[in-house]
């Protein structure tokens, strides 16, 4: 076993870099510290320092959580083709997608923790036997299981693959492929479960719709790949790690299709709410047009939808989509647009008006903004570390000490010149 060597070299990879790298990690740490301060204020003084109240009982934290579960689930867009359909183009990007999933899940769990005053210390109550996990009836209990399970899967599979490469073996298919299948189903499930957390509440007609689950998936498969395109583009331009153009263009196609489906579902929702507006449409009215002089969310949702529309139509025009700069801009717009539409544009109006018709608006306080920024910084920090550890191993730059000695029986080729998996069968893509 070279676990110790692996961990040490991972630590080395993660902590060494040029000045810009250290500046980046330093700034993330600074934001994380600010977030920690915000969290300290929230824990010591109570949740009264947040903008949430008895009417709007979930705010920025759960909004971000709902969005990020989608980003995590979207790893399946690369995992499925790369491992199950043996797509060569995605094989080099899939580890990065799993890294994105891990960091998104870390953020999700951090947001769930930040949202519950008891959780940092009473987390053990969510475990069976010593605690009392109200499974299967509680959707939150499902979510806890799903998120943690998906985190374990997305840590274990890439770890096994990377470790095998580190020590110079090819990963044994039978050891990890079964888990790939599990993780494909799991990815779709985590997001459906998160949608049911909202959709399963008849008290909130705005969420209580069968479309919510599919809509969550459509927006997840838009925002997730959009982020992957941005990240892969960045890695491509800043490292030696080769990512085939085909991978990015395939992802761009997936993003475009998902964004269109998402818009269709949005349209369907809007028509459902406004063609024959009932009492159940008041939240939608509040969101899109404002209600009785309250319209805090109107500029947000309109900006979000405008960004989605613009980006989707841009991506639908082939020459524009093939232009890297336009593609990156459109993906950035989609990521932010979906964050608005699915985060604050979905969670908060569910509470306004309250079930008994009172309208109390929600504005996040500086504490919530700090904690939220801190958690995003934490996610980016984790992502950077994971990518930083994975790339040198995949490039063959970092290897187990046993491979440093001359080996007569084995020739180690640099990984740059071949597909990552020996077992990958080339498939005709056109």
């Amino acid at each position: 076993m070279y676990l110790r060597a692996f961990l040490l070299s991972a630590l080395r990879s993660a902590t060494s870099g040029d000045r810009r790298y250290h500046l980046w990690m330093g700034s993330l740490t600074a934001v994380m510290l600010l977030g920690a301060y915000g969290y300290y204020v929230q824990v010591t003084q109570g949740f009264g320092v947040t903008g949430m109240n008895d009417h709007v009982s979930w705010g920025l934290y759960i909004s971000n959580m709902a969005f990020l579960v989608g980003v995590a689930a979207a790893a399946v867009i690369l995992v499925l083709p790369a491992y199950v359909l043996h797509d060569v183009d995605f094989s080099r990007a899939v580890l990065i997608a799993e890294g994105v999933a891990v960091s998104a899940l870390v953020m999700c769990l951090a947001f769930v923790t930040a949202n519950s005053p008891g959780l940092p210390f009473k987390w053990w109550r969510l475990t069976p036997v010593i605690g009392l996990l109200n499974w299967p009836s509680s959707m939150l209990a499902w979510d806890v299981i799903m998120l943690n399970g998906y985190l374990v899967l997305n840590l274990a599979i890439p770890f096994y693959v990377l470790y095998s490469h580190f020590v110079g073996h090819e990963p044994a298919k039978k050891k990890y492929v079964p888990f790939i299948y599990v993780s494909v189903v799991w990815a779709v499930s985590i997001h459906l479960v998160t949608a049911f957390l909202f959709a399963g509440l008849p008290a909130r007609p705005f969420w209580n719709s069968a479309l919510l689950g599919p809509r969550f998936l459509a927006s997840a498969f838009t925002a997730g790949p959009a982020f992957m395109i941005l990240l892969l583009g960045f890695i491509k331009t800043t490292s030696r790690y080769e990512i085939p153009d085909a991978a990015i263009s395939k992802l761009a196609t997936v993003t475009t299709v998902a964004a269109q489906v998402n818009l269709v579902m949005l349209l369907s929702d809007v028509i459902f709410e406004f063609y024959s507006p009932t009492h159940h449409s008041t939240s939608a009215r509040y969101l899109f047009f404002g209600l009785a002089g309250h319209h805090a969310l109107v500029p947000w949702i309109r900006t979000g939808i405008a960004m989605n529309l613009l980006a989707t139509f841009t991506l639908m025009i082939h020459p524009l989509r093939r232009n890297t700069r336009v593609l990156m801009l459109a993906c950035g717009a989609l990521f932010v647009g979906i964050w608005i539409e699915k985060g604050i544009g979905l969670v908060i109006p569910g509470f306004i008006p309250s079930p008994l018709g009172e309208i109390v608006e929600y504005t996040p306080t500086w504490v919530e903004l700090l904690v939220t920024a801190g958690i995003w910084a934490l996610g980016l920090f984790v992502l950077t570390v994971l990518v930083r550890v994975a790339l040198p191993i995949e490039l063959g730059e970092v290897r187990s000490p046993n491979l440093e000695a001359p080996l007569s029986s084995r020739v180690i080729r640099p990984r740059t010149f071949r597909p990552r998996y020996e077992e990958v069968r080339p498939v005709r893509t056109r």
Binding site: D54, H55, S57, N115, P117, G131, S138, A141, L356, E358
Partner: protein, 325 residues
């Protein structure tokens, strides 16, 4: 019950065993020191180890026991008694209050129901005030379990109602409708709790174990009647206004970060008394009683009046009816 009387640790045993694992004397010492250091670091704020005075020390110790206590429904009678003793002691130590906390269970053959007469209610809100005093509701946040809606005659739409009126009542051309926890027969707030901290008792009252609640507020999102309240900050009740007659599942002191709700005054009704709101109502608009007792007033109302419930289409089966004369 888990106990952590670190201060009362016995002298380290001479037979060289610790944790059922044979170790030599030096190893045992290392384990002890290491364990103590790690423990102290992890629990520095909440252990009795760093308390200044004996009183503070006792409070910390009791708080630690409170933190590790079991779910109320899993406690044995003995554990419940210990818990109550501890809570009463904490009230004494912290605020010099002498409270009695009951654990009275549901009485056999009792199922509580409530009926509200919308033609009698004049919107005085005596019930709201009585509820605040009776249930030790947070004065700083102004928590209220009961909401009285002022509604225009001819409009049965809560969206159009005014729940925050501040003027002389009754206003001509209006009627008043009170809402609180309806103790639904199929409560949507119960299954959503991830830690099972809220449940329905056999007499129909939906209760919360405040100490078990992790404060995720899923139940709040699930309630179609906006009946649940959250302790965003540490609740404050002036010492002289505290109602010392308390129940573990009812009006005992809550802490910041836990959910609470109307329990039909569980500490009163389980002893055969009326809820404070029903007792305080000067108009007789509130009828409370045992649904299983065919001779109760509530049964008479249900049988002889035109009744309705809010949001029947959600099929939560509230045990709270409205009627008019």
């Amino acid at each position: 019950m888990t106990r952590d009387r670190t201060a009362e640790l016995p002298e380290s045993p001479d037979d060289g065993t610790l944790l059922q694992k044979p170790v030599d004397r030096r190893g045992a010492l290392g384990l002890l020191v290491g364990g103590l250091a790690a423990g102290a670091a992890a629990l520095s704020a909440c252990t009795p180890l760093n308390a200044a005075t004996p009183k503070e020390r006792e409070i910390r110790l009791l708080e630690w026991e409170e933190f590790t206590q079991k779910h109320y429904r899993r406690m044995t009678e003995k554990e419940r008694a210990e818990t109550i003793e501890r809570l009463e002691r904490l009230a004494k130590l912290r605020d010099n209050q002498d409270v009695t906390i009951a654990t009275t269970g549901a009485q056999p053959g009792v199922l509580f129901g409530y009926a509200f007469n919308i033609s009698k209610c004049q919107g005085f809100r005596n019930c709201v005030e009585a509820c605040i005093n009776e249930n030790n509701l947070d004065r700083r946040a102004g928590t209220q379990y009961i909401r009285i809606f002022e509604m225009e005659n001819g409009v049965v739409d809560l969206d159009e109602a005014n729940p925050t009126y501040q003027h002389e009542v009754p206003t001509p051309g209006h009627f008043y409708l009170g809402a609180q926890c309806f103790q639904c027969a199929d409560p949507p707030c119960v299954p959503v709790c991830p830690v099972g901290a809220t449940w329905q008792e056999p007499d129909g009252i939906v209760v919360i174990d405040y100490d078990w609640c992790v404060g995720c507020r899923a139940c709040m999102a699930a309630c179609p009647y906006w009946a649940r309240r959250f302790n965003w900050d540490a609740p404050e009740v002036p010492r002289e206004e505290v109602n010392p007659d308390q129940h573990y599942l009812g009006n005992r002191a809550r802490h910041k970060g836990c959910m609470e709700k109307c329990t039909f005054c569980i500490h009163r009704t389980r002893k055969g008394r009326l809820p404070a709101c029903a007792e305080a109502c000067p108009t007789g608009a509130r009828v409370f009683g045992n649904l299983l007792d065919p001779n109760s007033e509530i049964r008479w109302v249900l049988a002889n009046k035109h009744i309705f419930r809010l949001k029947e289409e959600l099929a939560t089966e509230p045990r709270f009816w409205y009627f008019s004369d």
